[in-house]
Symmetry: C2
Subunit: 297 residues, 2 copies
C-alpha cells in the first residue's frame, strides 16, 4: 500500500474509534445527542486522533487506553468548531460542505451541543480509568487534555483572536504567534504529548514532542495563510483571498510572502529533525508531517 492508502486506512480506524464513544441516540435529550453526532460525523481529516495514535505507537504503546483519549480530543476539536461557527462568533453557515450545527438545530441548541461535546470529552477520557484503573499515566494525560484545550491552550488563542477581530484591531507578530500557537498548535501538542505520555515516554521526550508539535501547528497555520493568497479553493477548503477580504492579520501580511515560505520550510524541517532524532522511528508519522505541511493532502 502506498502512503495515501495507509493514511486512509488509519483515518478510517480513528473515525471508528471516535464514533464508538459517541453517546447513544436515545432519551428525552435525544436532539442534543443527534446534534453531537451531526457535528462529529461531518468528516474532517481526524488528524488529531491519528497523530495521537502514531506517537503512541512510536514510543511503543499498544494498549486500548489511548482510545478514549483519541475520541475525547476529536470531541473537543468539534466543540470548538460548533461554537466558532455561531452567529456571535464567525457566523459561518457551511463547513466541509454541510450546513453548520446552528443552522440545522438552532442557535440555542448549538451552544448546548458544543457544551455537551466538551463535557462529554472529559466523561469519555475518564473511561480510561475503567480500562486501567491503576495506570499512573492517566492523570497526567487528563491534565494535558484539559490544559491544552483551555485558557492557556486553544481557548486562550481563540479568545484573543475573537477580541481583536471584534475590535477591528490588527495584531502584531507577538500576538499573532500567541494566537497561532494556541488556536492551531495546542491541540496538536495535546495529541502528540498524550500519545507519548501514555506510551511511557520520558519527560525529555515528551518535551521534544511538544516542541515538534508546536512547530507543526504554527507551520500549518502559516501555510494556511500562504494558501489563502496563492492557493486554490479545493486545497484550502474555503474561498481564496478571504483573509484579505476580512482584513485579517496574517503571517504573510506581517512577514511577507518569501519570508513566510522560508519560515514554513525551516519550521517543518526542525519538527521532522526532532522526530528523526528520537531513538525510535515511525516512518508513516514522518511522512504524514511532511505531506501535511506541504499540503499535498
Amino acid at each position: 500500500m502506498n502512503f495515501k492508502e495507509v493514511l486512509e486506512q488509519k483515518v478510517k480506524a480513528a473515525e471508528q474509534i471516535v464514533c464508538s464513544y459517541l453517546p447513544e441516540e436515545e432519551g428525552y435529550q435525544r436532539t442534543v445527542i443527534d446534534a453531537m453526532h451531526y457535528s462529529v460525523k461531518a468528516g474532517g481529516k481526524r488528524l488529531r486522533p491519528v497523530f495521537m495514535k502514531e506517537v503512541y505507537t512510536l514510543f511503543g504503546g499498544h494498549g486500548k487506553v489511548i482510545e478514549p483519549f483519541m475520541a475525547a480530543l476529536e470531541m473537543i476539536h468539534n466543540y470548538s468548531l460548533v461554537h466558532d461557527d455561531l452567529p456571535a462568533m464567525d457566523n459561518d453557515e457551511y463547513r466541509r460542505g454541510r450546513k453548520t450545527t446552528h443552522v440545522v438545530y438552532g442557535e440555542g441548541m448549538a451552544v448546548l451541543t458544543g457544551d455537551a461535546l466538551l463535557n462529554f470529552a472529559f466523561e469519555t477520557a475518564l473511561k480510561a480509568f475503567d480500562l486501567e484503573p491503576e495506570n499512573p499515566r492517566i492523570p497526567q494525560a487528563l491534565k494535558i487534555l484539559a490544559q491544552k484545550a483551555g485558557l492557556y491552550g486553544m481557548l486562550g488563542g481563540q479568545a484573543v483572536d475573537v477580541e481583536k477581530e471584534k475590535a477591528g484591531e490588527m495584531m502584531n507578530m507577538d500576538e499573532l504567534t500567541f494566537v497561532h500557537e494556541r488556536k492551531t498548535g495546542a491541540l496538536i501538542e495535546c495529541a502528540m504529548m498524550i500519545g507519548a505520555v501514555l506510551a511511557g515516554a520520558s519527560c525529555e521526550d515528551v518535551g521534544r514532542v511538544e516542541e515538534a508539535a508546536r512547530l507543526i501547528g504554527v507551520a500549518f497555520q502559516i501555510q494556511d495563510d500562504i494558501l489563502d493568497v496563492e492557493g486554490n479553493q479545493e486545497v484550502l477548503g474555503k474561498p481564496v483571498g478571504s483573509d484579505e477580504k476580512n482584513h485579517k492579520t496574517t503571517y504573510v501580511t506581517l512577514r511577507g510572502m518569501e519570508e513566510s515560505k522560508n519560515d514554513v520550510k525551516e519550521m517543518s524541517e526542525r519538527a521532522i529533525s526532532i522526530f528523526r532524532g528520537l531513538p525510535n522511528q515511525n516512518e508513516f508519522l514522518n511522512e504524514l508531517i511532511e505531506s501535511l505541511i506541504g499540503r499535498e493532502l
Copy 2:
C-alpha cells in the same frame, strides 16, 4: 453563633476557596479571564460547594483534596448560568442585580467565557492529583463531576427544557420530572456525592446521599414553582408570575397547588430522614436542608 451566622461564615469560606482557584487576570487572553471572574464573583449562595464540604465533613473527611472539587463545581454552575443567559437561550440581561456576562463582554466573548469556565473546572478538579497523587477516590469523584454536569445530568435537563420552550410545547409530568431532576437536582447530587466519595463513604451511603440530593433538588424546584405563584420577588429573585407569563409548564400547573405543597413537604422529609438515618450526623447540614426547602433563606 446562630444558624444564619454559621451559614454566612461557611458561605464566605467556600467563596474564598472558589476564588483562590480562579486564573490570574493577566496575559493576552486577559479579557476572557476577567469575564470568568465577573461571572463567578457575582455572588450567589455558593450552595453547591457548601453542600459538598458539609457532606465531606459528615463522613469524616478533613483534607484539602475537597477544595479543587468545590471550586470546579461552582465554575460549572456559573458556566451554565452564563450560557443560559445568552440571547440564543433565555436572553436575560440581569442576574443577581448585575448585568449578565454577554451584556458586559459581548455575545461571542460570553460563549467563550462559559466554555472557559467549563474547561477550567476540569483543569481545577485535576489539581486534586497534585495534593494526593495516589488517592484512588479522585478518579471516582472526577467521573461524578463529569457525569452529573453532562448529557445525563444538568446539560441533558437543560437541553430538553430549551427544546420544549423553543417549540412552544407543554411538558407532561415525566418530562418535567426529567428536567427538574437534571437541571436542578444533578449538581446537588454531584456536590453531595463527591463529598461522600472523597471522605471514603461506602457505596451504599453514596447511593443514599444521591437519593437525598435528588429529593432536595426536586423539592427546591417545586418550591420555586410555588413561589412563582404565591411568593414575593425578594425571596424568589425574579418577578412573581413570570412562569405563567412565559406559558411555562410548572409542577404547579400539572399537579395543582395543594398537591405540590404536599409533595415538597413529603420529599424534604424523606431527604432529611435519609440523613438522619446515617451513622454520623451533621446538624448544620440538616438545618441547611430544612431552611433551604422552606426557603427561609
